[in-house]
């Protein structure tokens, strides 16, 4: 608290500030910071305060009194703002499920893994007739729909990929054998594809 001497003080007043005035300033500060759509800088707060009350001192006081409260004063970029306490976030936030749509490449890759597992990335590329980006594979991995199934004993020992129980769940399958046979989906010219 910087101490602007009270201009019209009772002779016995504190040298710093009139406590009633300071209390009023605290009320103003609390309401203003609450109402502002962006963090309040001390200079901005100062405009709203009685002339003899220092905005910094008010903020310091407010920081102390709101610490540990469900709504705390915090210093953020550009000034001071009220924020709900971090420990309450799980209770007050509402989780809304927004299922993602798999991109086409991911969906095709997943389908190929499902039908040809265990399968290497190179084999997937051959079956799809297009190269496969690492990100697509990683996204599928992250989604929990595929998992590594060891390595193929060929030069380079590439990872083999297969589907997970989560995959069966996602597509409502009891087992992989519930998938329609490949021949029902595409007429393959020759069985030369079982890479």
């Amino acid at each position: 608290m910087s101490e602007p001497p009270d201009p019209q003080p009772a002779p016995d007043a504190l040298p710093e500030a009139d406590p009633a005035l300071f209390a009023h300033a605290l009320r103003i500060a609390e309401a203003l910071i609450f109402a502002s759509d962006r963090p309040i800088q001390p200079a901005r707060l100062q405009q709203a305060l009685p002339p003899d009350v220092d905005a910094r001192a008010v903020i310091t006081s407010l920081l102390a009194t709101t610490a540990g409260r469900p709504v705390e004063l915090v210093e953020v970029a550009g000034g001071f703002a009220f924020r709900t306490a971090a420990d309450l976030a799980p209770a007050i936030t509402k989780v809304v499920e927004v299922p993602r749509r798999l991109p086409r490449v991911a969906m095709e890759t997943l389908a190929i893994i499902a039908y040809h597992q265990p399968v290497t990335r190179a084999e997937i590329e051959e079956i799809r007739g297009a190269s496969l980006s690492q990100t697509t594979l990683e996204a599928l991995l992250e989604s929990g729909l595929i998992a590594p199934r060891g390595r193929k004993e060929v030069p380079g020992r590439p990872s083999l990929w297969g589907t997970t129980p989560r995959f069966l769940e996602q597509f409502g399958l009891k087992a992989l054998t519930d998938l329609p046979r490949r021949e029902e989906l595409v007429s393959e010219p020759a069985p030369q594809l079982s890479a």
Partner: protein, 254 residues
């Protein structure tokens, strides 16, 4: 909506009803007890005053003036039981309208007198986002998975380089050899088709073999080893081993 033509006392009134309400208020606090006749006189007086300054008046003012003058005349004559319109009821309806407008004015004033959000009281300026989107779920079903597989395969297959199908064509040499082998065992006339090789499913290959076999048969017949016969155009072509003693009869080939 006040037109620029409305000057003087009409300035600031939002139409005839507004003026009437103002005049009625000046009469009495309780609108139910106002004198319609006095009200009409006052209204017409104000309008007259306005017209002296400015001749043009918006139509709705003139309509109201005419209607009020008519109403006044009806109110002044004793009620006629034959009369369809009840002047008293019309006057009461006008009073009701004025009362309703008055009530709405008061309601507006009541609203305006309240602490308003954003003026006297303030809400949280920077709301916090309470909604967390869980995007871990995947929107995909089995049909989509199967379609994806089929689409990927079809596309991959379509992308393969085109290689023309290798055809195994039955050459005349082949046909000659086959004919030579089979002719010895032939007891009687037989159709040409029987001399085609087995397992020819492709129609193109089958026709090629038929042509080669016919040429081979003609060749063989020319050498005198077999006879050919065809009864009619496009009829079956028959052949048999030539009788060793006989001379070559008429050979009618296609």
């Amino acid at each position: 909506m006040t037109q620029p033509v409305l000057h003087l006392r009409l300035d600031g009134f939002e139409g005839p009803l507004d003026l009437l309400l103002d005049l009625a208020r000046a009469q009495k606090v309780d609108l139910e007890k106002i004198s319609i006749i006095a009200l009409v006189d006052q209204f017409l007086a104000v309008l007259e005053q306005a017209r002296r300054v400015r001749l043009e008046l918006a139509a709705d003012w003139l309509v109201m003036a005419a209607w009020l003058a008519w109403l006044k005349s009806r109110l002044l004559v004793p009620p006629d039981p034959e009369e369809e319109v009840d002047a008293e009821a019309l006057a009461a309806a006008l009073t009701d309208r004025l009362a309703e407008l008055e009530r709405m004015r008061l309601a507006a004033a009541w609203l305006a007198g309240r602490d308003q959000l954003g003026r006297e009281v303030f809400a949280r300026g920077a709301a916090e986002q309470l909604r967390v989107e869980d995007r871990s779920g995947i929107h995909a079903d089995l049909p989509a998975l199967l379609q994806a597989y089929a689409a990927a395969r079809r596309r991959a297959l379509a992308r393969r380089p085109y290689t023309p199908k290798h055809r195994k064509l039955w050459t005349v040499q082949d046909a000659l050899a086959r004919l030579g082998r089979l002719i010895g065992a032939l007891p009687d006339w037989a159709v040409l088709h029987r001399f085609l090789p087995d397992g020819l499913t492709d129609p193109v290959e089958r026709r090629a073999a038929l042509a080669s076999t016919l040429i081979a048969a003609l060749e063989t017949a020319r050498g005198g080893a077999i006879e050919l016969q065809q009864e009619r155009a496009f009829g079956p072509i028959l052949l048999r081993r030539a009788a060793p003693s006989e001379a070559i009869p008429d050979v009618r080939a296609a």
